[in-house]
Symmetry: D2
Subunit: 345 residues, 4 copies
Amino acid sequence: MPTPIAILGASGYAGGELIRLVDAHPLLDAVYLGARRKAGERLGNVHPQLDGRDRILESLDVDRVVASGAALVFLALPHGASAGPGVELASRGLRVIDLGSDFRLDTPERYLTAYGTAHPHPEQLGEWAYGIPELFAEDIMAGDRVAVPGCYPTSGALALAPLVADGLIEERGIVVDSLSGVSGAGRGVSEGLQFGVIDESVKAYKVLEHRHQPEMERVLDAVGGAPAQVLFTPHLVPMQRGLLSTCYARAAWDLSPADLERSLAATYRDAPFVDLIEVPPETRWVVGSNRCLIWVGLDHRSGTVVVISAIDNLLKGAAGQAVQCANLVLGFPEETGLPTTGWMP
Amino acid sequence: MPTPIAILGASGYAGGELIRLVDAHPLLDAVYLGARRKAGERLGNVHPQLDGRDRILESLDVDRVVASGAALVFLALPHGASAGPGVELASRGLRVIDLGSDFRLDTPERYLTAYGTAHPHPEQLGEWAYGIPELFAEDIMAGDRVAVPGCYPTSGALALAPLVADGLIEERGIVVDSLSGVSGAGRGVSEGLQFGVIDESVKAYKVLEHRHQPEMERVLDAVGGAPAQVLFTPHLVPMQRGLLSTCYARAAWDLSPADLERSLAATYRDAPFVDLIEVPPETRWVVGSNRCLIWVGLDHRSGTVVVISAIDNLLKGAAGQAVQCANLVLGFPEETGLPTTGWMP
Amino acid sequence: MPTPIAILGASGYAGGELIRLVDAHPLLDAVYLGARRKAGERLGNVHPQLDGRDRILESLDVDRVVASGAALVFLALPHGASAGPGVELASRGLRVIDLGSDFRLDTPERYLTAYGTAHPHPEQLGEWAYGIPELFAEDIMAGDRVAVPGCYPTSGALALAPLVADGLIEERGIVVDSLSGVSGAGRGVSEGLQFGVIDESVKAYKVLEHRHQPEMERVLDAVGGAPAQVLFTPHLVPMQRGLLSTCYARAAWDLSPADLERSLAATYRDAPFVDLIEVPPETRWVVGSNRCLIWVGLDHRSGTVVVISAIDNLLKGAAGQAVQCANLVLGFPEETGLPTTGWMP
Amino acid sequence: MPTPIAILGASGYAGGELIRLVDAHPLLDAVYLGARRKAGERLGNVHPQLDGRDRILESLDVDRVVASGAALVFLALPHGASAGPGVELASRGLRVIDLGSDFRLDTPERYLTAYGTAHPHPEQLGEWAYGIPELFAEDIMAGDRVAVPGCYPTSGALALAPLVADGLIEERGIVVDSLSGVSGAGRGVSEGLQFGVIDESVKAYKVLEHRHQPEMERVLDAVGGAPAQVLFTPHLVPMQRGLLSTCYARAAWDLSPADLERSLAATYRDAPFVDLIEVPPETRWVVGSNRCLIWVGLDHRSGTVVVISAIDNLLKGAAGQAVQCANLVLGFPEETGLPTTGWMP
């Protein structure tokens, strides 16, 4: 019998992808779909791409979620909105997979620096597993609460963490330069996301101040041992989905490209969704799948390591990775119900 | 045990989608993938979005297809390339689902008019079922050869056939004005399909001379009884997938919108993939699924019926419909292995 | 010495293009730029593409416009916002070129039907010249008030008016099926104009109820003599600029394509911006210029005339045509300061 | 009387923009348009966006160019095709502005490293001025031959050269990470530039091996004195025009953002096309103009300087800069005939 699950924040892009994935998942059954402003509406009105004629979006009320019988809940809520329900749902015995940013950082200090406010439940920080199964599977399986990382940290961490862990690159002076499709900004309405602003233009944004920078450092700290220092520059490009990170780091010693490839290949040998490939990836190759493709190279002249990774920001960067974490938490094979195949064009 | 199938023409867009669908299909197993120019290459090189590290594209050789044990073969070949292998494979006992245009027309005369050359196997015309399951399920199930229609005729026929069959619109004076994503033109390389030409521009093409016009008339003739006359104008719009047809026809008598809705709703009552909806559809609502969404309205002043339909040209307009036909030919439920849910954005 | 002019509604897309055109115009000088919500802001903040470091947007106050010394004012305001200032500015001796919809219809009845409310200055309707210089140059030159048409009516009228005037097509049963870039919807922020909604999708909108339908009928009535009946279907396509109209009409008698071409060629013989061409136009060919390209064909079987026209919706469909009208009103050659050359890609 | 000029390579994107700019230029007159494969065709067929009904493309024959009376010739030819005609035209007394890559590098050694072949006229290297007027105006004005830089080096050099020249950043360890619209790849037809490949995807290409890397080093060497070392990563993004470079360099000492801003502001104080701005630029702000917008910031933690520059790759990155150079060579004000205003959206 499939495990009953709930999704709170069902009306956004990540929520829609969660519903699509769970509907196709052989071992999960969505018994409760909650939304804030769209509560009471038919799913088919909110997500016309889904088969939603007979399903109604419920509220975000925690009691109702518990009453639904859900054993696990996905939270796909805006920043700051997960902390309260996340803690309460966990305390009432549900497994919680949070796609938001509330539990991703590991210390109150780092949270304060990144978000400018004190965390409402500082004792919880560090209690939530950081949801990149390829790097932290044991943590995820050991607990009942997972903070799924943002799309940028996922792409950066998968590219860099093995090299940091193996001591091949310096932890300081790392640059992560990322290009993201617009769905990464969510489904909210704003002037900056109008077609007239986005189409046929690119820009860097939140330069030197994006909140995912400390999150990347937190991951690299965890695998490396020494404090990492990342300069992160996100760019918005005119496409719906896809995220490409071009990462630069100083080689720790006079190493060869083969050293780099060996580290990445070994780390992901048994990972069903992460592949080291021989040419720099295009985002289209991963759109629609839960895969991450990685290429690594070395600039001999300057001793700079270049790693490029590509993911679908809504799948491996959000909903897909969340389901992958849920699979681990529930004891299923991690690839259950997740696409290894994308669509093209 | 799944039925072994072959796909010839595996390197194009429709071929790629066929592979993706068949790989996810519980009752089909792709045992042979054939291509012409890409024969010998790794599937993963040709379709990086697929899981293709260990699969090699074979040739189009009919003997090898037969030897593979395939019980059914999908042909996704260019115009004119299906006729030969299609007839031979059928004669050797394989079921044949042809996504090409070679067997779609019902008479040698119509073929000559549409394509300007005589058909190489005129006796076959009319022997192949026309592969729109919602309209011709009995034909499809009764035989072993199916000509899957083009994307434009699928969208036009699903919109108009019920109204013609029920005598609600005149067969003459029909206009089908369609907007197609660029993948409908296939994966071949040409100046007209360069990004620099397509992006940020629209155009009508093959005005008054597109080959899908006689195909539309052939379908409407089949359901209506009287000779239909369609003026078809395709437009190319800057997007990958999606096809929207806005159809205009004269109301046959002083009817009401409810008459129109009743006809369409009744025809598609049990169709898992076709829905009449209350607002004009957007193509994004169907991209990624095998669905067709239809809206109908009436201009009272002029007595003109307006029907708008939306499909994913590579799924309901090609690979998805082909699998739907294969399901019927093989006696499976028609929706087996096919998505009723798309992706957005 | 250049003529001083004012632009009210300077912050929108049409306003921005007006500023760009006027800045490059040898005989016009923008002395007053007014805006509502953006009043007080630097032009360079509102239109970063313009050279606007030292120019400040003023208010919409009529007294200030008059005090600026402007001899002519362009109004690029939302629907309903032109009527008041338009009438007052005209009464105070300024020439008024209104890009809005307030004075485009010719009778209070037609206005009421189109907009659902009574016109605040019904006596003005019919007093404003309809600003398509190729069709109504005498009216425009004779007066001091011009209502510049919408982008859709411009494209439809330029395609159809000569054929109606010459009695080559029937006035009833006309279909105008148009594809528009998103800038036609203006610069306002809305959910329906978000990149996530528009990109990679097409839709028809306001089917059977768009306000430009009566405006098209008003133009064709004016040139034809008999009441015209137009069914207009606008579609939104994922591009910034460009408008393509595919028009269908019944041939009035058993005419030939040459009859149609002769009518259009004769009408536009001396028009610097309108050309009849031999292949259906692509919108990219006109983007950036004030041109309109037209192709005409005949479906012999059904006796249907097909006319396709392409314009840049912000230039010939808005700001360019407005400047062209201003040139006539001020006694300049109509092409003064206007581009006959676009940009590509 | 305008100066007669010739354009060789008139059929490409840069050639088309040159024609558009020259046609609008008050002091230049295009008397000869030459092309290779398109020789003999009407300009209007090759560039439908231009007013080209009565102009025919000529051959690339040098004698015919000389006979045309042109005093200056723009070469917009593929790599390797400029060297021969460039040297010959110069020897026959014409001024030559080469948009190609043949004369951009300053030594035979650097050319060999970049292009893998010996230069056919090694004695010419270093004789051609490097055509960035903001940095090398004296060289350009002093001679009669200009090598206009590529779009990437233009954007990188304008961002970095002042900081190198003023000793604010280290010459080694520089990273230039660029995003380019597709028109930068030219108008040639290839599989990699099909809409189906480009749209909705991004990729890095020629990683660690792009030919513009040595060109960037050549410029920074010239302004800095010490050998520069640049790691350059170009990315292709789904848009027609626009180029954004995000550059990273190590601060040479414990400097402040104001130091950086002062250097850039001082260098470009009198430059009509280059502006330092307070927020990171979007490419849309410069598309259609000859402008370059620059933003600079400092990551205090790592001592990394971040400079972001935006240009229109076909204007400031090609045709616009070429005309700017021609203006200097001919003794005109450098901004003559060039747009400081772009179009949006």
